[in-house]
């Protein structure tokens, strides 16, 4: 049966598609919604359980407890690390991907092998720690940015994007006298906006969520990123076997570790929700390549 461009079958598909996506949205949204209502509910109600659709005994105490002075300091740190880190990532990854994308590059085999090996083999925690220490980067921002400057995984994706730019375009630019640096920054990168926007998102989310490197290389609390505090709340609380002291009144349980955890999750996720729409602009269809014919 021939599927027409328009007509009944197409409409049926559209209805199905929209409905399916709507249901998918509900399923994805619900857990975060659940965390949100948990975070504004009174700790005692959360303890008793059963909060599924509406918050109970709403209180903002959890957030006021969470937003102690340090939260903003940690958040500022995370923002700085994310911005600087992502810039370094993108720059280094593009510099690495471009020569590897050029089919006529004489060093192509050698460098491709060099980066691919690092996908599988790494020295481990101890040598990395010693390396960072010997470069004097302990307790500095650079310990969080330099060791992970290039994610080979992401760089390969960028390379794939660069590879899809026709050689002819590059050659004609070179005939006009452009060297490779100019080609990279004036032609290749602008034409790969979608992929680079995606990599910006990936890299910045990685920085935003990272805690392990910070835990390992930072000793001063003033330098801690947000995730260290949040993760400690989420997981550290699970190990709490110390005897709890009986609090006498219901008010004293307004804020419990369950509500704090929920609030912590909201605080971590919110910024991404705010940043993402800006990056989304670059996923507009047909933003490039249409101009490349000939």
């Amino acid at each position: 049966m021939k599927i027409k461009e328009g007509g009944v079958s197409r409409t049926a598909f559209q209805i199905f598609n929209y409905t399916f996506l709507f249901l998918l949205m509900l399923v994805c949204l619900y857990p975060l919604y659940l965390q949100f209502i948990t975070s504004i509910s009174h700790g005692l109600e959360v303890m008793k359980g059963g909060i599924t659709l509406i918050p109970r005994n709403i209180t903002l105490q959890t957030y006021t407890t969470l937003v102690r002075g340090e939260l903003f300091m940690y958040m500022k740190n995370t923002v700085v690390y994310t911005v600087v880190g992502t810039l370094v990532n993108l720059l280094m990854s593009c510099l690495c991907a471009y020569p590897l994308a050029r089919r006529t590059f004489s060093g192509r085999k050698f460098f491709t092998a060099m980066v691919t090996v690092t996908l599988f083999f790494s020295g481990g925690m101890i040598p990395m720690y010693l390396t960072v220490r010997s470069f004097g980067m302990m307790d500095t921002m650079w310990a969080l940015i330099l060791p992970g400057a290039i994610s080979t995984y992401n760089m390969i994706i960028i390379r794939t994007a660069f590879q899809s730019i026709p050689e002819s375009l590059i050659e004609s630019a070179q005939l006009d006298g452009a060297n490779d640096l100019i080609v990279l920054f004036r032609i290749v990168i602008p034409l790969s906006k979608a992929t680079l926007a995606t990599m910006l998102l990936f890299y910045s989310v990685t920085h935003w969520n990272s805690y392990f490197d910070a835990m390992l290389y930072l000793n001063k609390k003033e330098l801690y990123p947000l995730q260290i505090m949040l993760r400690n709340m989420l997981i550290g609380g699970l190990f709490n076997e110390e005897t709890a002291i009986a609090g006498a009144s219901a008010d004293s349980f307004a804020v419990t570790d369950a509500t704090l955890r929920a609030a912590a999750i909201i605080v971590t996720t919110l910024p991404i929700l705010i940043v993402y729409p800006f990056v989304q602009r670059y996923f507009v269809k047909g933003v490039m390549i249409g101009s490349v014919k000939g």
Partner: protein, 531 residues
């Protein structure tokens, strides 16, 4: 002439006197060093109690000892990783909080200072260690390379353990007697279940990184006649045995199976999380749980909002099918959590003196109470926190103790080698609000303290010191044996396998190394005791 010489004499005398008094003012006898020194120490930070700089404790230490204490506090969730990297790269601060397993692993490589060699410089610590010979188990080749976390008692001290927490209001409601044996507990739960079929009998939870089944057995297997891992059974006089590979473990499984068959066990017992467990106990869905009584008592607040008559209380230790009335309380001294001084530290002598000071009466006071006259009063040796301080933090309810400890820099969760639960006890009493409530609270805690069936868990589980080969061999065997045992236990609890077949598991465990594990421990134990 004579006048001048008298004057000269007077002047000289004056000068001498002033020199003496200046000297006294400049170096108080408590100072550990003439010039101010900075000591870096490290311990993990519990999310409930952030470790702050510039607290009363740190200021007091500076005043008394002329030491600037800098506490580095990586988050608890990642402490294991950080600690192991720091040890492995020999990049440790002057004093570090570690597990005894780390001491066993690295002491022989010369990473830590041999404290036994500095016995003369550490009188307070060794006085405590000598007074309690069982602490000698936390040695490596007979030497102390670590200083254990030690306990100092106080008049308001309470005892806690994994006790039988029961909805005592249900006993009253249905006119049932308080059970004195485990079988009676079963009868009582069955009776209540008939009247209220929707209630869950016994519930439990998982803990940290172990399974829920494991945690359940960690709590109930000793009271029921065995134990979930290596231990020395006080009633069997058998030396070290691996609980699950012995006959008495069947009693434990039999009882749990009995509960399961009658529908008295939480149907999800094998996957219960801490959150779900909290829900079931706080919303009144469950009758009973064998768990940390302090944590469970907190649920009474939530229960009261459902129905003020609902109440969870502690039932005194029950008698099991073997006629034993026993349970464990949490250990007070914790040699498993210890403080080490790395040999590569630049301030070894100072660290030694400081660490020893922490075990002195004065050090314990500062680390747990703060500064006399500022945060607490000392009347004839009875130390009480100042009313204003308690009141100030009481507003924070259940977080009161954490907030107070964090602000003052005191308590077990801080850098405190010798801890005293005075702050915790006094805050708990204060929070009760009224004198009647305090009496009721004291009654509960006193009855636990006086429960004859409770024994300190460290008396049955403190491991003997092993040498390098023994450690490696033991760890290997433990992994192999546990792999076998823990995949089978659930089958016997749920009755999927009849209890008689458990003998197969015992055989398999022995074959996989349980017997050898026992031999290793018994040999090491005898060696440590000098037999």
């Amino acid at each position: 002439m004579k006048q001048r010489s008298i004057l000269a004499l007077l002047l000289t005398a004056m000068m001498l006197m002033s020199m003496v008094s200046i000297a006294d003012a400049e170096t108080p006898s408590t100072y550990l060093s003439e010039t101010p020194v900075t000591l870096h120490v490290m311990r993990d930070e519990n999310p409930n109690q952030p470790i702050k700089a510039d607290t009363l404790k740190i200021k007091t230490i500076k005043e008394l000892l002329n030491v600037d204490l800098v506490i580095e506090a990586p988050p608890k969730a990642s402490y294991t990783d950080k600690k192991s990297v720091l040890i492995a790269t020999d990049d440790m601060p002057d004093i570090m909080y570690v597990d005894f397993a780390d001491v066993q692993a690295y002491a022989r490589d010369g990473l830590f200072v041999n404290l036994s060699e500095h016995r003369d410089e550490m009188p307070h610590l060794f006085a405590l260690l000598d007074a309690n010979p069982s602490l000698g188990m936390a040695t490596v080749d007979g030497q102390f390379y670590s200083a254990p976390t030690l306990y100092r008692t106080n008049p308001d001290a309470t005892l806690s353990g994994q006790l039988v927490n029961f909805r005592t209001d249900l006993l009253e409601k249905y006119n049932l007697p308080t059970p004195t044996t485990w079988d009676e507990l079963y009868d009582v739960m069955l009776a209540i279940k008939e009247k209220e079929p929707n209630l869950i009998g016994m519930t439990n939870r998982k803990a940290g990184n172990t399974t829920a089944t494991r945690k359940l057995l960690d709590c109930v297997s000793f009271p029921l006649g065995s134990y979930s891992t290596m231990y020395r059974d006080p009633d069997l006089n058998s030396g070290w045995i691996y609980g699950p590979a012995h006959e008495n473990f069947k009693e434990v499984l039999k009882y749990l199976n009995k509960l399961w068959a009658a529908g008295l066990m939480d149907p999800d017992y094998a996957s219960m999380t801490k959150d779900l467990w909290q829900e079931k106990m706080s919303s009144g869905q469950a009758m009973c749980t064998i768990d940390n009584d302090g944590v469970v008592r907190n649920f009474n607040v939530a229960l009261a909002t459902i129905d003020p008559s609902y109440k969870i209380g502690v039932i005194p230790t029950l008698t099991n099918s073997l006629g034993q009335t026993r349970n464990t309380s949490y250990a007070n001294d914790r040699p498993g959590n210890a403080f080490v001084i790395p040999a590569s530290s630049e301030n070894v002598d100072l660290a030694i003196k400081f660490l020893d000071w922490c075990y002195s009466e004065e050090g314990t006071d500062v680390n747990n109470l703060g500064k006399e006259g500022v945060s607490y009063d000392n009347v004839d040796g009875v130390k009480t926190f100042k009313e204003e301080i308690l009141a100030k933090y009481a507003a924070n309810g259940s977080n009161a103790i954490y907030d107070m400890s964090s602000e003052l820099g005191i308590g077990l969760l801080e850098f405190t080698p010798r801890y005293d639960t005075t702050p915790d006890n006094q805050v708990a009493l204060y929070l009760q609000g009224s004198d009647e409530a305090r009496e009721a609270y004291r009654e509960v805690t006193r009855s636990i303290l006086n429960d004859p069936g409770l024994i300190d868990v460290s008396t049955i589980t403190t491991a003997p010191p092993l040498n390098a080969e023994q450690t490696e061999r033991y760890n290997e065997l433990l992994i192999a044996v546990e792999n076998i045992v823990w995949q089978e236990i659930d089958k016997y609890i749920t009755g999927q396998e009849p209890i008689e077949n458990y003998d197969k598991v015992i055989e398999a465990a022995k074959a996989a190394g349980a017997t050898e594990m026992e031999e290793i421990y018994n040999a090491a134990w005898d060696t440590a005791l000098g037999k």
